[in-house]
Amino acid sequence: MIEAQGLVKKFRDKTRGEVRAVDGVSFRCRPGEIFGLLGANGAGKTTTLRILATILTPSAGTAIVAGYDVTRQSQKVRSSVGFLSTATALYGRLSAREMVEYFGRLHGLDETTLRQRIDAIFERLGMNDFRDRRCDALSTGMKQKVSIARTLVHDPSVMIFDEPTVGLDVMAARTIIEFIRECRDRGKTVIFSTHVMSEVEKLCDHIGIIHDGRFLAEGTLADLRQRFSKQDLEDIFVEVVEQ
């Protein structure tokens, strides 16, 4: 479960002065549900997700992730969260197996559990053919799989996806989309940011539209369609933002 209450993140910029990248964002995301954060570039999606993943601390407001407070229990939040973005940021000279092992160990898994988890994940994602190949020699799709495996190794109950398909080809993007669905089907709490309307329509059970750091609309796709009397999500998005 994710519960954000009045999240605010302020930055100081030399030219613009104080910038409120996130301005009073509140929402709730339940287990077994995909919550889509929909917004244009610079809307505050990434900042919101980084606060939830404890990469950034909020200037005001609170967020409870998997039952833990992001500011006071950040260590526990981190052990309950898997964070995936387009930037795989793998260590090129480590093999796929070593890479996942490294993160598993940092999450405190013992060697037997780690081996079992890696075998299961590699089998499920079809990674056994390249498990001992160095990451810098892998294709983009393979790298994405390694990144997914790293995200899953500690079996987190909350999954955070920050524009995970940007710049990926159809096949690699498909792998990610399938993986997100699988996370939901396994009862994980999934939050997903994107500016691609079709992905939201395909995946999300709940949608939040964010613009200039503020949450402007929230609901299921059916709710939003009814409220704005429009079928196309893009039209709904434009109307919400222009209002």
Partner: protein
């Protein structure tokens, strides 16, 4: 950070560095080959220069030699 995590990161960094050719060259090839080569080369040059200098006959000019006729008539003295 716990000691266990420091060990995990250290091990990863070590594997990563040992697989990096540039690191290997700067860690092993340079100290083992280049440094002895430079040291020996410099020594050879120095020994050669000292040898050459010791074989050379120094030339001395005597100014105001009129007052020292013994010096002027000594062996190897060329009168001007």
């Amino acid at each position: 950070m716990s000691l266990r995590n420091i060990g995990i990161v250290y091990r990863k960094e070590l594997i990563d560095s040992l697989r990096d050719q540039r690191t290997l060259i700067s860690m092993i090839a340079v100290p083992l080959l280049l440094v002895p080569l430079l040291t020996i080369g410099l020594l050879v040059v120095m020994v050669r220069q000292v040898g050459e200098a010791s074989e050379e006959v120094p030339k001395v000019m005597i100014l105001g030699g009129e007052d020292s006729p013994n010096v002027r008539s000594g062996p190897g003295i060329l009168a001007k």
